[in-house]
């Protein structure tokens, strides 16, 4: 059984990582092809790191994902606390169902519905275009929210109600009981929500495709535009760099948190 599950893990991970391995290999290609290696070189890395448009798109994506992840985590955590305390089942379900719409709805529908809202509003206000950083940020917060709530709300529901009540019986104010008892208990859910919101936003292409304008280009939009023309290993070089940065961050985070655990 042990061996069988190890073999199974190996197969799944080969499946999940083979495109990434291909990407990394070809990013070192000396030639212009993305299908065949003709030698090793760093030319695509040099080219990417001197390309202002790409670097700018990368910066834009970082700013957008961070802001949208923070705002949606804050809104979503507050919302989860509120939703869990709505007594009337019908109202609670109504709020939950509306919240889940962007998750249940295909991204493409969320994207075009927001696009129609922005386009219509711009027309009504007589502005040329409402699509830019603002529309992207609104869109990203909106589609991240249900994922944050989905990770936080079950944690709140898992918490035995009598625990915060006990804290209050022992003299905590409701606020203290929330910050000292409930928040530490639900914090893994909040962290998961934050990471998910950031990942989704960083990786999003579909909704951004419909809600971004010419004034603010994210990385995925930039990559899509590049792929439409012709694919050079340069894009792979860029993705490899992102991959390495992300992997380092996650490793550092894991090391820190495991040391943290040991110290306690």
């Amino acid at each position: 059984m042990k061996k069988l599950s190890k073999l199974y893990l190996a197969i799944v991970f080969i499946f999940l990582y083979s495109p990434i391995v291909v990407m990394i290999l070809i990013s070192f290609n000396a030639g212009e092809s993305t299908a065949h290696m003709t030698g090793l070189s760093l030319r695509w890395y040099r080219q990417m790191l001197s390309d202002d448009i790409t670097l700018n798109a990368f910066r834009n994506t970082l700013v957008l994902s961070s802001v949208s992840a923070l705002v949606s985590t804050l809104l979503g955590t507050l919302a989860s606390v509120g939703i869990s305390r709505i007594r009337k089942r019908r109202i609670r379900n109504a709020v939950k169902n509306v919240t889940n719409l962007p998750m249940v709805n295909p991204d493409i529908v969320t994207g075009i519905s927001l696009m129609l809202l922005f386009v219509f509003t711009a027309q009504a206000l007589g502005r040329e275009s409402a699509l830019g950083f603002g529309s992207l940020l609104i869109a990203h917060i909106t589609f991240s929210l249900p994922y944050v709530i989905m990770s936080v709300l079950p944690k709140i529901n898992q918490l035995d109600r009598s625990v915060p009540e006990a804290a209050m019986d022992l003299g905590c104010t409701p606020m203290q009981s929330f910050f000292k008892v409930e928040l530490p208990f639900i914090s893994p859910g909040i962290v998961t929500g934050l990471i998910m919101a950031f990942t989704l936003s960083f990786d999003d292409f579909v909704i951004s495709n419909f809600t971004s304008g010419a004034s603010f280009e994210t990385l995925t939009i930039h990559i899509y535009a590049m792929i439409k023309k012709s694919v050079k290993p340069g894009i792979y070089a860029l993705s490899t760099l992102i991959f390495i940065v992300v992997m380092t961050l996650i490793l550092v985070y894991n090391l820190l948190s495991s040391r943290d655990r040991r110290e306690r």
Binding site: S5, L16, A79, V109, I141, T192, M247, I250
Partner: protein
């Protein structure tokens, strides 16, 4: 106390009204109007009279297959993870999440390199005397791409529910005479239904509406509903009104299937152990 805590949900409710409900109303508005803003039903009737129904059916089949494959792969995976040491568990989840950080435009393109007739897989197969197999531009290639892109979304919710199961419950089941098999089928499975349901939602919806994967790995040999909708919003033949109508139909189709699923899930949850 409870009244004041309700207030916490208000910013979110306002946000939802402005950016979830209102945009939906705009989809409705565009669906039932023409270019001049006059009311019309033509956009809806056009869907029923042409090959659009076939496109819908095609997309539905592909998405169902991809979802089932994801579930079959993810469920044992999540179970294996949930029984590992805590440290290993978090490393495994990081490894599952990492591919999500790679832009799917890029990884889909990598899959092209892998699946091509003269691609990497066929080269490798050639060494052991098999093939070449024709894989690119087939429905199988598109489904491979979908499973790759959406598998982590199936693993995450199932794993998090399984990891949340109190180990004492499993111990208790064993004390009461359950075998490992019984533990899996009679304790873990009923308790993980909610994770499975969110996993199915998270895979099925993006699968049925994808438009990039099918273009690249399907090679334009067949059109999915996502491709069709996108072409009316960003392509050369822009028609917001007909595009909105197609999205409406897609949305209703998904909402109905999810409604059925959630009803099924609620019933199961109420019969569960920890409610």
């Amino acid at each position: 106390m409870s009244n004041r805590r309700n207030l916490a949900a208000y910013p979110h409710i306002v946000w939802s009204a402005l950016f979830i409900v209102a945009p939906m109303l705009f989809v409705l508005y565009y669906t039932f109007t023409d270019g001049a803003g006059d009311p019309t039903l033509e956009n809806i009737t056009r869907i029923g009279t042409s090959n659009y129904l076939l496109i819908f059916l095609n997309s539905l089949c592909m998405a169902l297959i991809a979802t089932v494959i994801c579930l079959v792969i993810a469920y044992p995976l999540a179970y294996i993870f949930s029984r590992m040491r805590a440290d290993t568990q978090s490393i495994m989840m990081v490894l599952i999440m990492l591919p999500l950080w790679m832009n799917f435009l890029i990884t889909t393109y990598s899959w092209m390199t892998l699946l091509e007739d003269t691609g990497i897989i066929n080269t490798l197969l050639g060494y052991i005397g098999i093939g070449p197999l024709h894989m690119i531009n087939t429905p199988g290639a598109v489904i491979t791409g979908m499973v790759f892109c959406f598998l982590p979304y199936m693993v995450m919710p199932i794993y998090s529910v399984m990891a949340g199961i109190d180990p004492r419950i499993i111990e208790a089941a064993k004390d009461l005479g359950c075998s490992d098999r019984d533990v899996l089928f009679r304790v873990v499975m009923p308790m993980s239904i909610s994770g499975v349901i969110s996993g199915i939602t998270m895979v099925f919806v993006p699968s049925i509406s994808t438009f990039y994967i099918s273009q690249k790995l399907g090679g334009g040999t067949f059109q999915l509903i996502g491709d069709t909708i996108e072409s009316y919003f960003t392509g050369t033949a822009i028609n917001f009104h007909f595009g909105a109508a197609l999205s409406m139909v897609l949305m209703i189709m998904i909402l109905i299937s999810m409604g059925v699923m959630n009803r099924f899930g609620d019933e199961n949850e109420e019969r569960g152990l920890l409610k």
